[in-house]
Structures are given as structure tokens and as C-alpha cells.
């Protein structure tokens, strides 16, 4: 039985975060983070703070580097805001201005603005979700750096630079391919983790592929919408030259294609938001889960090594106490990771299922809505054109 309140991560009123506003300045996006809290650890109960994308990355990295969180799935970092698409389009628009009619140009400009807005919406959403994942997790919400991120009323740039020097991005520099080998190579005694390992490794490649294919599909939809736009423009040109009743007919047709374009665009962007974004997000989340398995596998390897060291020490009769202590620590770490890992992976599956369900339902409902709108537009137009 699935909770009806699905992936709404702002459940807990003690710490509520959202991003109500964002500013796009050339290359940089400035997000306005809005916080409402009843926790005493915060100085104020409601406040806002501006943050850049790089600040999010800093926060993510510090959390990743924190040993204490090794047994948790670390919410994936939000991807960099990507305005490449609209920017390219803007370029094309500028270049093609001379070859287009005024109406076509205005239309494309409008379209461009809509696309810009869509990218904007996407990036705000994904940054927001990152913060909400943190705020809704019992351990992350207490993280010191998270609090700094939320509260520090100065620019975080200086802190960011320091952090880089401290950690040197050591985790990130590790060769990721080692993950897979290590994870699959480790002999697993725990049935749960064995299953998870098999599942995650396979699922991760499948979801990556599905994301790529969904992206291509969305792009094709957008291309079709573009074509409708051009067809509409061409029909208007022909209409302009006709001074008969036919002119009205042509203009009506041009209008139909223009409306079709808008609908097709909506279909494309809704599909992107509900399907492609969902797949993209979970591709990253699956990676975070894999990272957890990796850390656990490393801990297991460490534990096994510590056993070997202990045996050697016992044989030699030297440094036994040290080796025993080391072995105890490794075991403790491994057990801790296993225990919290199990919890995390179980709730991860629940979260994933709920998110898929919500998005698939919403996407389907939107598809139906758009198709019905298209149909009524088309049928209405057919009637008008027939009666002319």
C-alpha cells in the first residue's frame, strides 16, 4: 500500500526548504533558497539566502567526504544548469532573421523564451529536490555544513576554495570503473546485499540507456513542433498573396498549424519533465546507491585485510594488540555500513517506486489531456474549414 503523499519531501514542518526564485545572469544562475524552520539550531525561523550552483556542489562534496555518512546514500548532486539548447537557438534565430517573415521571427522568439523557461524550471526543480532530500533525512539535516549552506549570510566562495584544498576532491578522483570490479569481485555472504549488487549493476546500465533514448524521443517531438511552425509561416506567406476567399481558408490553416505546434511543444516538454527528468534523476540516484555498495565493499575488503594482518601478527608474535584493535574497528565500520546500508537501500527502493508511479501517472494524464485538446482543435478546425 503506497502512501498517497508520495515524494513530497517537504513533509516535515520542522525544516521546510524551497526555491521560489532564481535569477539568470549570463552564465550563472542565482537561486534564492527559502527556509522555514522550528529547529532551535537555526538562528531565525524564516529566512532566505542566495546561492550559486557551485555552492550546491561544494555542499554535496563535503557530505560525500564525510566518513560518518559512508553508510548512507548521498543525494546526487544537481547537474549544472544547461542553457546550451536555448542559447544555440538564439544564435540560429539571430542568423536566420533575414530569411524569416516577421511573424515567423516573433513566433520563434516566443518559442525560444518558452524553452529558456523550461530549462529554468528544470534546473530549479533539481536543485530544490537536492536540498529537500537533505532536509528530510534524519542524519543529513543535522549536518554542520548543511546548516552553514542554509544560514551563512555571506558568499560561500571563500569556504568553497578552502574545502577544495582540504579534501582535494579525493573521492571524486577515484577511478569509477574500479567500483564495478570491486563490487562484483567481493564475495558476498549477505543475501540481501548480493541481490542488491546484482540488481543495481544491471539496472544502472539499463536506466542510463533509457534516459538517453527518452532524450532523443523528446528532441524529435520538438523538431516536429518546429516544422509545424515553419509550415504555418509558409501558409501565411501564400495567403498574403491571395485576394480571394481562399485567403481566409489558408490563414485558418496556418492558424491550425500554429496551434498544433504549441500543443506538440507542450507534449514534448511535459514528457521531458515527467519521464526524461525522472529517468535522469534516478540514473544519478542509482549511482549514489552504487557508491554506497562500493564503500561497503571497501570496508569489507579492509576488514578481510585486517584479519590477515592479525593472523600475521599472531604468527610473528608482534603488534598483536594493535592488529586486534584495527580488526575490531574494521568490523565495526563494516557492520555499521551494512546496517545503515540495508535501511537506506530498502527506503531507496520504496522512494523509487513511489516516484515512478507518481510521474508515470502524471505523464499519462498529461498525454491524454494534450491529445484531447489536439483532437478538439482539429475537429473544430475541420468543421470551420468545411463550412467555408
Amino acid at each position: 500500500m503506497v502512501r498517497s503523499v508520495s515524494v513530497d519531501l517537504n513533509n516535515d514542518a520542522s525544516l521546510v526548504i524551497d526555491i521560489p526564485d532564481a535569477l539568470c545572469e549570463r552564465d550563472k544562475v542565482k537561486f534564492t533558497i527559502h527556509i522555514k524552520t522550528t529547529l532551535s539550531s537555526f538562528q531565525k525561523s524564516e529566512f532566505s539566502v542566495p546561492r550559486q550552483h557551485e555552492d550546491f556542489i561544494w555542499l554535496h562534496d563535503t557530505i560525500v567526504e564525510t566518513e560518518e555518512y559512508a553508510g548512507l546514500i548521498i543525494p546526487p548532486a544537481p547537474p549544472k544548469p544547461d542553457f546550451e539548447g536555448p542559447r544555440e537557438k538564439m544564435h540560429k534565430l539571430g542568423e536566420g532573421e533575414s530569411s524569416m517573415t516577421k511573424e515567423e521571427y516573433a513566433k520563434m522568439k516566443q518559442e525560444l523564451e518558452a524553452e529558456y523557461l523550461a530549462v529554468f524550471k528544470k534546473t530549479v526543480q533539481v536543485h530544490e529536490v537536492f536540498l529537500q532530500r537533505l532536509s528530510s533525512h534524519p542524519m543529513f539535516r543535522k549536518d554542520r555544513n548543511f546548516q552553514i549552506f542554509l544560514e551563512y549570510d555571506q558568499d560561500l566562495t571563500v569556504r568553497r576554495k578552502n574545502a577544495k584544498e582540504m579534501f582535494g576532491g579525493f573521492f571524486k578522483n577515484m577511478v569509477k570503473s574500479a567500483d564495478e570490479v570491486l563490487i562484483s569481485g567481493v564475495k558476498e555472504v549477505d543475501e540481501f546485499f548480493e541481490q542488491e549488487k546484482i540488481f543495481l549493476l544491471d539496472y544502472s546500465s539499463k536506466i542510463k540507456d533509457a534516459t538517453a533514448k527518452a532524450e532523443k524521443m523528446t528532441r524529435s517531438h520538438k523538431n516536429v513542433a518546429d516544422d509545424y511552425n515553419h509550415i504555418s509561416g509558409a501558409m501565411n506567406s501564400i495567403a498574403a498573396d491571395n485576394n480571394t476567399a481562399f485567403k481566409k481558408h489558408l490563414e485558418k490553416c496556418a492558424e491550425v498549424f500554429e496551434k498544433l505546434r504549441k500543443l506538440e511543444d507542450r507534449v514534448a516538454s511535459d514528457q521531458e519533465l515527467k519521464l526524461t527528468e525522472l529517468l535522469r534523476y534516478y540514473t544519478r540516484d542509482i549511482q549514489a546507491a552504487k557508491d554506497l555498495l562500493y564503500r561497503r565493499a571497501r570496508a569489507l575488503a579492509d576488514y578481510e585485510n585486517s584479519n590477515k594482518t592479525l593472523d600475521k601478527a599472531r604468527l610473528k608474535g608482534k603488534d598483536i594488540a594493535q592488529a586486534e584493535e584495527n580488526q575490531k574497528q574494521c568490523l565495526r565500520k563494516f557492520d555499521k555500513l551494512s546496517e545503515s546500508g540495508k535501511k537506506e537501500l530498502t527506503s531507496f527502493k520504496a522512494r523509487r517506486v513511489v516516484a515512478f508511479r507518481k510521474n508515470l501517472i502524471e505523464m499519462t494524464e498529461l498525454e491524454i489531456k494534450h491529445a484531447k485538446n489536439s483532437m478538439s482543435l482539429l475537429q473544430g478546425s475541420i468543421e470551420i474549414l468545411n463550412s467555408n
Partner: protein, 529 residues
Amino acid sequence: MSCMRRFCHETQSHDSLHSCMCRRSVALLLLKMSEERDPAALSGSAQTEGEEDLFVSAMESPEAARLSAEDISPSSNGPRDDDPDDPDDLFAEATEEVSLDSPERQPILSDGPSPAITPVTISPRVDVFDRSPDLDEDEEENRDTFDIQISVSDPEKVGDGMNAYMVYKVMTKTSLSIFSRDEVCVKRRFSDFLGLHSKLASKYMHMGYIVPPAPEKSIVGMTKVKVGKEDLSSVEFVEKRRSALERYLLRTVKHPALLKDPDVLQFLESSELPRAVSTQALSGAGILRMVNKAADAVNKMTIKMNESDAWFEEKQQQFENLDVQLRKLHASVESLVCHRKELSVNTASFAKSAAMLGNSEDHTALSRALSQLAEVEEKIDQLHQDQSYADFYLISELLGDYVRLITAVKGVFDQRMKAWAKWQDAQVMLQRKREAEAKLQYASKPDKLQQATDEIREEIEEWEGKVQQGERDFEQISKNIRREVGRFEKDRVKDFRVVIIKYLESLVHTQQQLIKYWEAFLPEAKAIA
């Protein structure tokens, strides 16, 4: 393509005519539909019943698409004199008789431009200034009994390797008396069609008749077919060509003068057609033709015609503009066809990927839902593919036909200019002869004077005759063009109106199916627990 195959499957039990119809393209039916919707057309006799619009039947809402081209209103199609794409249009004055290597590749040689051959039914038409839809009596009468159906079907490959060619079955069903039989089937190859067109062009173009252009050649397309590639692209190519040939014939017989032309009758009826010397794309003859066309173009530029009739100037400008705009529209539609195909391919690819994801998913309910999503997307990809065929056959091909037609129309205007130039040249010559006559009085020796005077008088008479003929020809071609253009514009409007409705209906169908598929999926998504 698959929607066509589906239809074939359904109609297997029908008689041979229906199975011919099996491979109808939508544009074809559309063309016929445009005719049947003409209010002035009185339904002629027998039309085959139960013929289904191919595409519509695939849409599960079959309409009886009556196949007859009963509407007599001739489509005004132009000679492709100036069509740079058509090196085969022989009307260029040159009659090249360069013969070539292989016996199959005879250089094209029409019956030569033969202005002397007047087509069968050219009689002075009624008031050409009446640009209303009224036709003159002849045509009105014919319309009542006009009934002819033509189909091009059953492409068959003959021969092997590079000498292979496709042969099509051309079936004509008619009750018109000019035909010797009610129903006749002949086999024709592509070059036969081109041969027919070149004959018609050489006979009628100079009179201002817009002769429908024949479909274009394609070396790449044909080579694939010859080489025996059975892949989808060569199958599509053959279907595209078959459909184009059918539209070509229908347009041709829609023209009342062309319908009665003996070459057309022979084409439709005789079992043996003299091998049309044909259409070697890159032959020496071809190159010669292109050179002559160029010369023609230069010639055109030096003829500065004194246009006394504003109508012609206005129309010419209109057609120039329409040409540009139609090409642009055509290009956009071609782009749509391409992107729609891509959408179909990408959707199919996503469907597969979603299925794999579903298999991999370990949560049972979600796994099932993902598999079902994959199935929905697969159905949708088929939908997109079908829609792209509609995009193509309904709109794109028709626009392509009209782009070529416009070129033909422009050519007809050029013919008028040539006629004017000929008339003017005759006047100049006449003037010269008269001047020569005057000079004679002073020039010649008395004993030779009489003979010279007689001679020059003869010449003067000859040129007077030519001037009169030139003027008559010019007036006649002007009349014809007005009428042809009137018909063309009427047909264009009609065709467009019908096409757009058909196309929008195809889009409606796609949306209906989408609703159906997604509504079926919604409970599956909700069932994830």
C-alpha cells in the same frame, strides 16, 4: 508501408480491381475525391463500389472512396519547358537525333515540335474573359458523361542487372465512346510515360495548354531497384513512383483536349507501344537539350514584350511568387516527414529500452508497469510511422506535383512570349520586304524590273500571310492561357481544400489512437503498489 500491407491483407478476397487498388496512395484517392466533390460534376455511370480509401481504412473508419475521375474540369498543367529538372522535355526546339550505344537507350526523339498538328478538339472557345467556373458547352456536355478510372499497379521487375526495368500495369475502366473497350489493361514502363509526356508537350505546349509534367527520374532510386535490393527503401521508391505515375495519368486525362488525344488513347489501350525512345539522363542528347534550354533562356531575356494586357503581367508575377512560396512550404513539409520518421524510430528505440528496464526492475508491480509502458510506446511508434506516410502522400507529394505544375504554367507564359516574338519578327520581315519593293523602283535594270517586282510581291504576300498567322496564333494562345490558368487556379484551390481536410482527419485519427493507448495504460500506472 505497413498500413498498405495491412490493407492488402484485408482485401485479398476482392476481385482484381480491388487488389489493384490495394496499393493506392492517399494522394491519388485525394485527387479523385477532389473531383467527386465538384458540385458541377454529375455523377457518371458505374463507379466501383466499396473501394476504400487506403489510409482511412487503416484508420478503421473506412469511407467509400469512389475512384472515378468523373469531373472533367481539366487540370491546367504546364509544359515543363523551363524545368531545369527535366532534361527530357523535348519541346525545346532542337530535335536532336544523336543516337547512342545500347539499343535500349535510344535518344529521346519526340515527334518533333509539330505546330502543324492541331489537336483533335480545338475549336474556338467561348468567351475567354469569363473567368467564372462556367465551362463551354462541349465540356459541359462531356462532364455529364465523363467517366474514366485509371489505376497504375503491380510493379514487376523485368530483366536483370543494369538492364532491368520495372513494368507497371495500367488499367483503364471507362464508358467513354472514344475508347474501344470498357476495360483495358496494358503494361507500361517508366520511359513509356516519359515518351507520352514528351509527345503531348510537343503538340500542345506551344498552344498554351498546360500539359501535366511527368514524374521525375531518379538514377539512384532506380539503380537500387535494378541491383535487386529488396530493402524498404527500394520498395518505398517503387511505391512512390507508382503513385506518381497514377497521379500523372489522372491529371492528364482530366484535361479535355488531352483525353481525346490519339497518343493518350494509344498509351492507355494498345498492348504494344512503340518503344519510346527515351530518357537517357546523361546522354549526349540530354546534354544537347540542356544547352538548348539555356539558349532559350537567354533568348527569353532579350524579348522585351510590350505587354498590353495587364492580366498577363499580373498573373506572371503571381506565379513567380507562388513558385517561391510553394517551394518553401514543400521544404517544410519534407522536413516534417523526416522528423516524424525520426520520432517513430526514436520512440521504438525507447520502447525497447523501457522493456529492458522493466525486466531489470526488481519491484514486481513497477516492473510490470514499465513493460506495459514499453508496449504502449511500441504502438505509438507505429502510429507515428503511419502519420509520416500521411504527411508524405497527402501533402508532400501533392506539393511536389504543384511545384512542377507551376513551372509548367510559367513555361506556357513563355510560349506566349515566343509567339509574340514570332509575330513581331514576321512584321519586321514584312516591313523589310516592302522597303525592298520601294527601292526596286530605283534600283534594277528595266528588263529585270518586272521579274524582280513579281518576286518581291510574292514574298510580300507570303509575309503578310505570316503576319496574319502570327497575330492569330498570338491571340489564340492568349485565349487558351486565360482559360487554362482559370482552370488551374480552380483546381488548385479545390485540391488544397480537400487535402487539408484529409490531412487534418489523419491527425485526428492519430490523436484518437493516442488517447486510446494512454487511457489503457493509466490504470496500469495507478496499479503500481
